[in-house]
């Protein structure tokens, strides 16, 4: 149902849903359930469910479809896709939204052979994932969790109702019960921030400045876990200082390529991992070849001790008083160092040293969208990890804990495939679509430096776009940049509405025709969804999906894990009700299409479908590598193998008998210090999580970034085109830094307010805000603004106002409030719906009063700022929250309705009118 992926127990009465409750044993939610989880009943019986495959018969966007049989629908899709695959597989762009089957969808796209595949991470949280992977070998959200049981101080940055929302709520409940201080850094004081002991109402986009001021304070006072840094990070690695040289800023290495540190006793550069010997953390040294080098920590201390990050210096920009920053730094240090904890658990580090105890720095942090959705999010997230590392609080008792199969070193992660040499007609793509480039040679660009992918991911515009860039696909496909495509295939991605920047423009692109030929600029659109969402109206062929209660699903370790810190876990969902209409699970359909297309692995040698039993068949029998499949539990012929083992025909039964999940509790000595914990690392190799038991060294200094920088200076084979050089030089700083993402001062004057959205807790990450119960809670949205701003504009509750960005204008109703940063306005996201969509009445509140902020958000920066996509320059993460606006009064006599006002969509064929009364659960 959503990215939280809780375990649920569904109760039926006479074949109808009676109620849904949390599964008490499930590792994600431990029996609790959120509002949307309980409202799953209304999702299941929604009158907006698609009924049968649809073929467009009117112009795109008119909503005129005819119902067709599955055979016809699949034959048509096969015909379109076969033609593309035989000619140029790149002409298929396959992008999925909020599904949980990326292990399948990515494999399908790879076997098809198109490089143009990704899921929705590029517009969600790739900054968090990439910053984490390049720094701590893991990341916030599914890949880690705060040590709720032991932490003594918890800081949360930019979290509304984020991924893993029930785990976060459970965790906050535990902190409250123990009286642990909880600090929420967020421009808006709602939800979690409302119960925080301290709310830091920061100015949007300045979190990095605040965090680095905390770093400044820690360094200034010496509140740093030097021992932790020496052992587990690259603090002592020597950085070559050779301006103009080909290796300037890279790590000094020995002949075997191993990093060097300076030994203070031996007075020479040595390879001494794990803090062995007497490593220097400061000073300037001569390498054997005569070049100068300085330890990472020296560079780090110099940068952050500088005045630019002094609390007094950042107070105005962040909106946080210098005294508060100094106090919070002191509180963090006191929790880490004066309340450090020791667990009597002996363990052995990766260098063979035995430790009697596990020492903990009980400070933990969590961060998400509010950090991620800014164009400085990668560096800001790196800064948060830096802060955690200085406190010695990554995977220690009380700190941020890894969730297996993480941590992983960069070397264990794939590099992306998708360059011309990786693509050929009727051939699979040479490697994985998405990965983590080590340097410019891993980019997906041609010899001129132009992107190889339709979304521009891994090009010089977004070199570390580890989740792809779904938000650029439609505009690029429309422009034919870098090449035209023939088929756009999307799943559960509302790109014609709330998932698009520049929504109105995106709608125009979807319907735009080539003037010469009269054909649509994006020739064919296939879309799969369970409901009559806005995007359905823009598809040529609609493949109706089931609901989440009508199909098999797998929450795989190969995808985004559901593990907790104490053990790896994965899960399934089994169908509990049969569809009462002519719809099919998208995953079954994908495998069916794969078989019809003859994709390798999806057909047998005899040309038959390899998985005739559909997705359930695939879940059990597909092997990604020998013995490695979708699920880790009960593998092997007898079901006694874990992680690796032959397929087990009874595997799903075993999962069902165990509450639909598998989890393996780690032994006590494998629960912390896992970046360097020998027993854990060996376990991870055994389970197939890691290729080798090498420690994961924390990267305070991210050397791969410097490789891009050197390319910008003309070093190497793969060089950025001239127009990207200054950009790459500026942003690819191997040490975290803060930069303003808002525009020049004059533009800031013109658009003085930051504008944000958040998803309400009862609807977070859910598909279908039209839910009969949830829309009684959130049926429209207002523009929330500080009382001071309301007063300055003479606005009171319910008044209408124009909010204007340099991209667009919306007319909306306001609600003044106190608990919001004084330069910030905000609203709930995705409450506003296109009139007529989702089988809601055309006069429903979602269409008449609800609105999207998306209309104000540009997909492209203006030409004066380079004209590139509105994204982080490192990862391509969509910069939703860099929006700036001003308010303009509504003229007397203007109608009171939201603007822009769109023509109502027609309800697709086969969908009956929605009822006027619901008596669900009654006797009738």
């Amino acid at each position: 149902m959503c990215a939280c992926r809780c375990g649920i127990k569904v109760h039926l009465k006479d074949g109808t849903l009676r109620y849904i409750e949390g599964n008490r044993d499930h590792p994600v939610n431990r029996g609790v359930i959120c509002g949307k989880g309980s409202a799953g009943i209304m999702q299941q019986y929604s009158p907006a469910r698609l009924q049968k495959p649809l073929l467009r018969v009117g112009p795109r966007g008119a909503g005129e479809f005819k119902e067709i049989e599955w055979d016809e629908a699949l034959a048509l899709a096969t015909e379109w896709l076969n033609a593309v695959r035989a000619k140029d597989p790149r002409q298929l762009a396959f992008f999925t939204g909020r599904d949980q089957s990326q292990a399948l969808t990515s494999w399908w796209a790879k076997q098809f052979g198109t490089p143009n595949y990704a899921a929705h991470g590029g517009f969600c949280s790739v900054n968090m994932a990439a910053a984490g992977m390049y720094t701590i070998g893991s990341a916030f959200w599914e890949f880690s969790e705060p040590d709720w049981a032991n932490t003594e101080y918890f800081m949360m940055f930019g979290v509304a109702e984020d991924h893993g929302s029930n785990p976060i709520k459970i965790g906050l409940g535990k902190l409250k019960a123990r009286g642990v201080k909880f600090v929420s850094v967020n421009p808006v004081q709602t939800g979690y921030s409302a119960i925080a002991d301290e709310w830091v109402g920061i100015t949007p986009g300045t979190d990095g400045l605040f965090v680095l001021a905390l770093v400044h304070e820690l360094l200034r006072h010496g509140w740093v876990d030097v021992d932790y840094l020496l052992r587990y990070s690259n603090a002592a690695w020597l950085v070559i200082d050779d301006p103009g040289g080909a290796e300037d800023g890279l790590i000094a290495r020995d002949a075997q390529g191993r990093p060097l540190t300076w030994d203070r006793k031996l007075k020479e550069a040595v390879h001494a991992p794990g803090g062995a010997g007497h490593p220097a953390l400061k000073g300037e040294y001569r390498l054997a070849d005569g070049r100068k080098a300085r330890p990472v920590f020296h560079l780090l201390a110099e940068r952050y001790l500088g005045d630019a990050y002094a609390p007094a210096q950042v107070a105005e920009a962040t909106g946080i008083e210098a005294g508060s920053i100094e106090r919070i730094a002191s509180e963090l240090a006191a929790a880490a160092f004066e309340r450090s904890i020791e667990l009597d658990v002996p363990w052995t580090d990766a260098w063979g040293n035995h430790h009697d105890k596990m020492v903990g720095r009980p400070v933990s942090m969590h961060a998400m969208r509010g950090i991620s959705a800014h164009a400085n999010g990668f560096q800001t997230c790196r800064a948060i990890h830096l802060l955690q590392l200085l406190l010695g609080s990554i995977d220690v008792p009380g700190g941020l804990r890894y969730a297996p199969p993480y941590p992983k070193p960069l070397d264990a992660l794939p590099v992306p495939s998708g360059r011309a040499e990786h693509v050929a007609p009727n051939q699979p793509l040479a490697g994985a679509h998405l990965g983590y480039p080590r340097g410019p040679e891993d980019l997906l660009v041609d010899e001129q430096g132009a992107p190889a992918r339709i979304d521009g991911a891994y090009s010089w515009e977004a070199p570390l776009a580890a989740h792809g860039m779904m938000h650029t696909v439609i505009a690029n496909a429309w422009r034919g940049d870098p090449y035209p495509i023939d088929v756009l295939f999307m799943y559960m991605a509302n790109m014609a509405w709330n998932s698009a920047m520049n929504t109105a423009g995106t709608i125009d692109m979807l319907t735009d025709r080539d003037a010469a030929t009269g054909e649509y600029r994006i020739p064919k659109i296939i879309y799969s969804d369970a409901f009559a969402s806005e995007t359905v109206a823009y598809a040529d062929l609609v493949l109706p999906d089931t609901t989440y209660l009508e199909r098999w699903d797998a929450m795989s370790l190969l995808d985004r894990p559901i593990s907790d810190a104490d053990g790896p876990a994965d899960a399934i969902r089994q169908p509990v009700v049969a569809p009462d209409r002519d719809v099919r699970p998208f995953q079954d359909v994908l495998l069916d299409l794969g078989a019809r297309l003859g994709l390798p692995g999806m057909v047998t040698d005899a040309g038959e479908a390899a998985y005739p039993g559909g997705y359930a068949d695939y879940i059990v029998n597909h092997e990604r590598a020998p013995g490695v499949g979708t699920l880790a539990g009960w593998r092997g012929a007898n079901g006694d193998a874990v992680g690796k083992g032959a397929p087990n025909e009874h595997q799903l039964r075993r999962y069902i008998d165990n509450g639909c999940f598998w989890r393996e509790e780690l032994p006590e000595n494998c629960r912390y210090y896992r970046h360097s914990n020998a027993d854990y690392l060996n376990y991870a190799v055994e389970r197939g999580f890691l290729p080798a038991a090498d420690p994961v060294v924390m990267q305070l200094y991210a050397e791969p970034l410097q490789r891009f920088r050197l390319a910008a200076r003309g070093v190497g084979e793969v060089l950025p085109p001239q127009q990207y050089r200054e950009r790459v030089e500026r942003y690819f700083d191997p040490l975290p830094f803060w930069y303003a993402t808002a525009d020049t001062t004059s533009e800031a004057d013109e658009y003085p307010l930051h504008a944000l959205t958040q998803r309400p807790m009862a609807m977070y990450h859910s598909w279908g805000g039209h839910n009969a119960w949830l829309r009684q809670i959130h049926g429209d949205n207002k523009l929330y603004l500080p009382r001071t701003v309301a007063a300055a504009h003479g606005l009171a509750e319910g008044d209408w106002v124009w909010a204007v960005s340099r991209h667009g204008r919306i007319k909306v109703q306001v609600r003044p409030m106190a608990g919001v940063n004084s330069h910030t306005i905000w609203t709930w996201n995705a409450i506003g719906k296109r009139r007529g969509a989702w089988n809601l009445d055309k006069d429903s509140s979602e269409g008449m009063k609800g609105f999207l902020l998306n209309h104000l958000i540009e997909d492209l920066k203006p030409p004066s700022q380079g004209g590139l996509s509105n994204s982080d320059p490192i990862t391509g993460q969509a910069a939703w929250f860099d929006l700036r606006v001003r308010l303009e009064p509504v003229e007397a006599g203007e109608t009171h309705r939201v603007e822009p006002h769109f023509r109502a969509l027609q309800t697709p064929a086969g969908i009956a009118p929605a009822p006027s009364v619901s008596r669900f659960g009654g006797d009738q």
Binding site: Y19, I20, E21, G22, R24, V32, C34, G35, G37, S38, A39, S165, K169, I170, L172, G173, A177, Q189, T190, G191, A194, I195, D197, L219, R220, H221, G222, V226, K282, F297, H298, A301, L305, R327, S330, A333, A334, E338, R339, A762, H770, A772, W773, R775, Q776, R787, T788, G819, D841, D843, S844, S845, P915, S916, V917, S918, F920, G921, G922, D923
Partner: protein
């Protein structure tokens, strides 16, 4: 008019709701709606569920309030779940002309016998907490039953015999138990946290208690003065030298 039990119930089942921990996620409200629309009070109808002016019958609703004095910087948001408080002196019972509204002698739960309810709405007028909901489709009054069809339901595992809202609550902000027993976990929680009656001046003696938001401890322990000396004497890198001078 309807009589309350002659003697106050020895067992007073009710809820303790922690306003310091509630994040306003509506999990309790929806879980309540879900359980009860198929339960003892089934159905809880919805009007215009897919149209304008959507509304429905809910036995538990969460309201969010912003509180601040003159100074916005001290503002707070409080999430306030609202349902029947199962009052000892329940005016909704005594006002009922048919005996439909009643308070149970054995556990203090206030219920509506729908067969006797004529939908006159007097009880809703009498309740100072706005905790009763007229089901517009069924024409009878609905209210929180404390999930009377769960808490005594022997078909459920023992840990599941709690109201749906309590089972669902992700932050454990909701607690269920016997507030008539001073030794019960809920009574102890109320004593420890200063749990309070809502609007005591109304004289209804509500059973449910609310735990007030705790004062925000803006300051946590800081580093001792001795630890803060490095900046002045030798500077940070000098401090580092001393630290590593073995």
């Amino acid at each position: 008019m309807t009589q309350l039990p002659a003697k106050p119930a020895p067992v007073k089942l009710g809820l303790v709701i922690d306003l310091d921990t509630c994040v306003g996620c509506h999990a309790c409200a929806v879980s309540c709606k879900e359980w009860n629309t198929g339960g003892w009070v089934a159905p809880l109808s919805d009007q215009n569920p897919y149209g304008p002016n959507q509304s429905g019958t809910w036995l538990n609703r969460v309201h969010s309030y912003e509180w601040s004095g003159d100074d916005d910087s001290a503002s707070r948001t409080v999430h306030f779940p609202r349902s029947c408080l199962h009052c000892e002196d329940a005016p909704c019972v005594t006002v009922c002309p048919t005996g439909a509204s009643f308070k149970r002698g054995e556990d203090g739960i206030v219920l509506v016998d729908e067969d006797k309810c004529i939908g006159c709405g007097l009880c809703a007028w009498a309740c100072p907490y706005g905790a009763r909901e007229m089901d517009l489709d069924q024409g009878v009054m609905k209210k929180c039953t404390l999930c009377v069809d769960r808490i005594y339901n022997e078909e459920l595992a023992e840990h599941e015999r709690v109201p749906a809202c309590v089972a669902a609550c992700p932050t454990s902000a909701r607690h269920f138990g016997d507030l008539g027993d001073p030794e019960s976990a809920v009574s102890k929680l109320v004593a420890e946290r200063g749990g309070a009656d809502l609007m005591p001046e109304q004289g209804c003696k509500p059973t449910n208690k609310y735990l007030p938001p705790r004062s925000r401890k803006a300051a946590a322990p800081r580093m001792g003065a001795a630890a803060a000396s490095t900046s002045t004497s030798v500077g940070f890198l000098g401090w580092l030298d001393q630290l590593l001078s073995d």
